[in-house]
Every structure is written in structure tokens, then in C-alpha cells.
Symmetry: C2
Subunit: 387 residues, 2 copies
């Protein structure tokens, strides 16, 4: 929207109020006015609009503090729904979610490697189609479709420029899906979508500089500054899997040596285990390393602790570069968190530059678990609504 116009000013105020309501759970008009600095009549009139738009509802009366009881306002969680799709390299998963991340239905289809553009888009639209079946009567309540996909995305056009895993190039996701379903579509890189998901659905937005680091088959991260995802110049921020933490070592799939990825992904853990443990199985998997560690096998525990240390080094690098308030860890590898987290924490404590960083940087494992990506995709739409 054109900045500096009346409409824009109003939308800024509306957004402020809507967010205040969302983040406080329930709040009176008077308190909104106090906390946002917007005057009471303006609050009243905008709240009226928000109620007309089905975004906000009056819930109950609050406690009096010496005068008239406040009418508390709440977000009308199920006033609208969004569709979130996680387009992975093995499966495409989709959900219908409401404004606060409650999931109402799920679908999933498998995709095969060497899939073509057309097949991929067909599978994607199949997932959306299935999710929408229950909502044909209420299409006006569907805000839109968010798609999270690995690789480099052009967010403006909603095109997947290229993804290493599935080998797809220049897939016009937004254009295609918008045409089929006549709904707004937003496409984002999966790490960034995850970051948004965690930020929206588990966060009190108190953190101005927020990060998710995803450690699975690769390592990626997303960064939110001032409530906005940082995209960088070519939309490749957060490729911290290809930050080099060693001058020697294995060659990475990207061609370089010493990439963070070559030390901490599931495959890397397996490789290291095989190298260090004499009687390791030929078909060892990362899941099995975890299982064996849980059974108390010392060598496997040690492998995971070592992995934790390496993850810690990568995180410290990130902290020293960006200094986020909070770092959330997610991804398959983090399922071994009971073994990883202590050594991650220890490494960070040892290596971080200042006491303040040590004490104040929050490190957590994602609370959304496997749903982080689909919910992140859904959050893409909410981000438009609320900001």
C-alpha cells in the first residue's frame, strides 16, 4: 500500500490493534488505547470494523478496577482458515489451520524423485483440492494458500527457482495454484516458513531478532527482524549449512570443504559413527544412532555429544554474526535432543563472546515439532493479515 496516505495510516492502526488483541489473548478497548497510544474513539471505531470483518469478537466482561467493567475482546480464531502446504522432496503435506494454528484437517501425498514440473504442480494442487473439499461452501472464509518449499524461492512471483533435492527449476507455483483455486497463494523457502511458523504460533513476539535453525537432511535457518523475514539480496539468507567451520574435512555436496552440513546432518552423524565405532552396522541410520544411544551405548552417546558440540560451534558463529534474541532448533536431527542439547548449550556457554550473550540468548527446541513447516506455510498468509 502506498505509504503516507490516509488508508495506510488507518491500516497501520488497524494492524496494531489486531495484533494487540491477538497477542494479549483478551483485552479491553481501554487497555488497547493505553498500550498502543491510539485514542479511545479510534480504537472503538476500528474494533467495530474488525468485528464486522469477523476477525475479532467480544468475549466476556473483565474485573472492575473501581469503575465500569471492561468488555474483553478476543481474536475470533476460527473466523478464517488458511491452507499450509509443505512441499518436501519426498512428500507434500498440507493442513487447514485457523488463525492461531489449530489444525482442522491434514493430507499428504508422496512424490517420487525425478518428478517433472507438471507432475509436481499436479500433486501440489491435489493436496490443496483434498483440503478444500470440506470448505466448498465457505470459500470466503479461506484466506489463502501458503506453500513452503526447499531451495531458492522468488517470493515476489512465487516461483521455485531451483531446489537441489528434487532438481526442479523455475516452477511457477503461485501463478499455477492461484489460477486453479482462485485464492491468494504465497510461496516461501521452507526454513524461512518454519521460522515464521514458530514465531507466530509459539512466540509472544517479544523477540525482535528471532531465528529458527533447522537441522535435518541439510541445515538451513530463517531470521526475523522487526517482525519481518529477512530475505537478503537473492533470497538465499540462512544457508548456514554452507558456512565453513573447518579448513579441512569432507567435501560437501556444494563442492566446498568444511561446510557445517558435513558435520551435523543425519548422514554426517552416520558417517562419523561408522568412522569412529569399530562394530557399527553397515546400514546404520541416524535414527538408529539415537536408539542405540538411548539404550545407553556409550560410543553412540559420544557421537551425539560430539555432534552437539559441532552444532554449538555453528550456532555460536550465527550468534556472533547476527545476535538473535532467541534461537529455536528444529528438524529430524533434533529428535535426539536429550543427547544433543546439553552439549550444544555447553559449547555455546564456553565459546560465546560476552556474559550478556551467554545469559540472554535463548536456545530452545521447537514446540511445533513436525508441524512446524505446514504451520509456517499457513503463517505466510497470517503475516499478510497482521502486518
Amino acid at each position: 500500500m502506498q505509504r503516507g496516505t490516509f488508508k495506510w495510516m488507518k491500516s497501520v492502526n488497524k494492524t496494531m490493534i489486531l495484533n494487540k488483541i491477538r497477542l494479549s489473548g483478551s483485552i479491553s478497548r481501554a487497555d488497547i488505547a493505553k498500550e498502543t497510544g491510539i485514542t479511545p474513539p479510534t480504537v472503538s471505531s476500528i474494533v467495530k470494523e474488525l468485528m464486522d470483518e469477523n476477525l475479532v469478537k467480544e468475549s466476556h466482561l473483565g474485573q472492575s478496577t473501581g469503575g465500569r467493567k471492561p468488555t474483553l475482546l478476543q481474536l475470533k480464531e476460527d473466523g478464517y482458515y488458511v491452507i499450509g502446504v509443505d512441499a518436501g522432496s519426498k512428500t507434500i503435506k498440507g493442513v487447514v489451520s485457523d488463525l492461531v494454528g489449530n489444525i482442522y484437517s491434514r493430507t499428504e501425498v508422496e512424490v517420487y524423485s525425478n518428478i517433472t514440473k507438471e507432475e509436481f504442480l499436479k500433486s501440489l494442487s491435489m493436496v490443496v483440492e483434498q483440503l478444500l473439499t470440506g470448505y466448498k461452501q465457505h470459500m470466503d472464509k479461506i484466506l489463502g494458500i501458503g506453500v513452503a518449499m526447499h531451495g531458492v524461492i522468488d517470493v515476489e512471483t512465487g516461483t521455485s527457482l531451483h531446489s537441489v533435492n528434487s532438481g526442479l527449476i523455475n516452477v511457477p507455483i503461485k501463478q499455477t495454484i492461484e489460477k486453479i483455486f482462485d485464492l491468494p497463494v504465497m510461496v516461501e523457502n521452507n526454513s524461512r516458513a518454519m521460522t515464521l511458523g514458530e514465531y507466530w504460533f509459539t512466540n509472544d513476539n517479544a523477540y525482535n531478532c528471532f531465528t529458527v535453525i533447522n537441522i535435518g537432511r541439510g541445515v538451513g535457518s530463517g531470521l526475523i527482524v522487526d517482525n519481518k523475514l529477512v530475505h537478503g539480496a537473492q533470497g538465499v539468507t540462512g544457508e548456514i549449512g554452507h558456512v565453513s567451520i573447518s579448513l579441512d574435512g569432507e567435501r560437501c555436496s556444494c563442492g566446498n570443504i568444511g561446510c557445517f552440513e558435513t558435520f551435523v546432518t543425519g548422514d554426517a552423524i552416520v558417517r562419523r559413527a561408522k568412522r569412529c565405532i569399530a562394530n557399527a552396522s553397515e546400514n546404520l541410520t541416524a535414527e538408529e544412532v539415537y536408539r542405540l544411544a538411548k539404550r545407553g551405548k556409550r560410543e553412540y552417546i559420544q557421537i551425539l555429544e560430539e555432534t552437539g558440540k559441532l552444532i554449538g560451534i555453528g550456532i555460536v558463529n550465527f550468534i556472533h554474526t547476527v545476535n538473535p534474541d532467541k534461537i529455536v532448533l528444529s528438524g529430524g536431527v533434533m529428535k535426539s535432543k536429550e543427547f544433543l542439547l546439553p552439549s550444544i548449550q555447553k559449547t555455546i556457554h564456553e565459546r560465546v563472546l560476552t556474559d550478556k550473550l551467554r545469559l540472554e540468548t535463548i536456545i530452545e527446541v521447537s514446540k511445533l515439532g513436525d508441524d512446524i513447516t505446514v504451520l509456517g506455510a499457513a503463517a505466510l498468509l497470517l503475516n499478510e493479515l497482521f502486518y
Copy 2:
């Protein structure tokens, strides 16, 4: 300013117009309206205000394109002055500059190691005092004082929390200097100030994600996203000198092993030269390495090229984490740019993830040279004026 008010809306438009004038050199009201989307009457009335405030002037008439000639507007560069101070660990340098970075006068005082808070503040105010002597009659034309200082700064209170080099802790710079001179004071970390300086005075602001990397006695960086310096949670962003690029190696002053700093600072270059070159002088300095390389000494050239490669690795790490449009290199070490830059470029080309990154990430050496820090300090005030 409170968001969503009339005043705020106006100030946003005013800022947009002022910047449009600054960045285009000279432009007509009509073109401002076209390019900003603000309506002509609004442009006219705001321009009138800007002229009253001595920030903008009418220059000459432009070419007609089939109608009335446009009256071109320009920034009134010398309408205001700012003071920029570079509080280093060896000297405190200060300048008086105008709105576009022209320097009108300079001062410099030495500071001794083990300086006390009081002595430091006295030296600092001495520098400012000397700079102000010529301007006593026109104090209203001085916008304020910017101070760039190494170490961790609390930007809100303008306090130097702690600086490793000079050992100072909790120095209330803003509070003290504002009291003495009755002028607005802004304090910022030196790397970030440098970034702002380069951004303001050499940049067309076309870059949305802009970085300066400073390689001198330490390594620091600053990052501008959406025209704003990124500060991070504890104000320690950009400490890329303490990003670990090796799992083994020398111990850094920070206690860790493998820090980027231990490979690429002046001291690191000297250490590596001594280690690799049999007949190296006992008192070798980084300057001398450069001199010897310029004289064609193969071994010293190789040392610098190796340094370039290591700098390249650090830069690639930064690119993969943040993906800036443009990286400007500054600092003492970059005086050897003729030897460093080619191998930096080569390393980046080899190691960067995608073709787009390779082709589109701009790497340059600072055009402001040694003035980058004082001008950056000055830019702190302009940043307030223009945004």
C-alpha cells in the same frame, strides 16, 4: 514518534520527499510526485516546509519536455553541519561535515592506554570543543554529535558498555557530552557507524541489504537492512572476527580456537609470515609485509594471497548467512588490496553456492578510506534526519 497519527504520516511523507531530493541530486516537484506516489499539492506544501527549514533549495530550471520548465530542487548541503567523532583506542579523531559528507575541519588527540573514564570523556569533549570553535555563532546549524566507538554500545542510552582494547566499562558518553554542549549526541559501535557512513556517503541506497566488513586490528561488520542498522538483541551483531572457520589453530584473544580474526588481522598476517618465511625480520609489521610484497618479494605476495583466500572464506560464510547485495571492505589490512582483492574474489567465486550469488554479490573496497569512521559517526545524525 507515535505511529498512526497525522504528524507521523506527515513526517513519513516529508522524509520520503527529502530522501528523493537527496538521492536524485536534483529533481522537480512533479517528478517527486510521480516517483513517490505522493500527490502534487502535498509535495508542494512539504517542499515549502523543507525550504523554510533550510534543508532544500531551488537550483535552476530544467529542460522542458513539451510544457513548462520544471524548477529543480536540491539538497542544501551546507544548510546544516554535523560533528563526527571516531573514538579509537589510540586516538580520538573528529570532523565537522555537512549533509553530504564534505569535511570542513578536523581535529585529533592521542589517548594513552589505561586511560580512565574521566580522562577519556575529557579528551572526547576536547575534540568536540575544538571542532565547535569556528561555529559558536551558528550553533543552530549544528545538528549534533555522532560518536563511533569500538566495543559493545548501548545505543539507547549512548553508553559504551565495554571495549576490550581500552578496557573502559560503562562510559556514559551521550549523557556527558550532551550536558556539556547541549547538542544531541548519538553513540554507535564503530563497525556499524562505518557501515552507515559508507551507506550514506557513497551509496545510491539501491541496496536493501548492505554490509561493511572492517579488517584491521580486529574484524567487525555492520549490516543495514531496509535502511536500518541491525543491532541484534544485545547489540553485538557483526562480531564476525569471532566466527570460527577452523576446528584447530591458534587461540584467539576471546579464548576460542579457530576465530576468523586469528587468520586475517594485521597481527595474524605478521605471525603467518614469520612462521612461513625463514628469513623474516623479528620486528616485521603488516605494513612491511605489504611493502615487501609491492617490491615483488614472492613469499610475501604469497602470504597476502593466502590471507585473501582466508578473508574470502569468511566473506562466503557471511554471504551464506545473510546474503547482502553489497559488501564493502575497509580497515588497515585492506590497504594491501592489490594483493588481497584478487584472491578474495577468486575464493568467493569458487565457494559461493549459486551462480546468482556469484554474479550479483558486489564486493568493493571502501571509497571513504580512513574517513569512513568519522563520516560514519557523522552519518548517525543524518540517519535521524532522513529516516
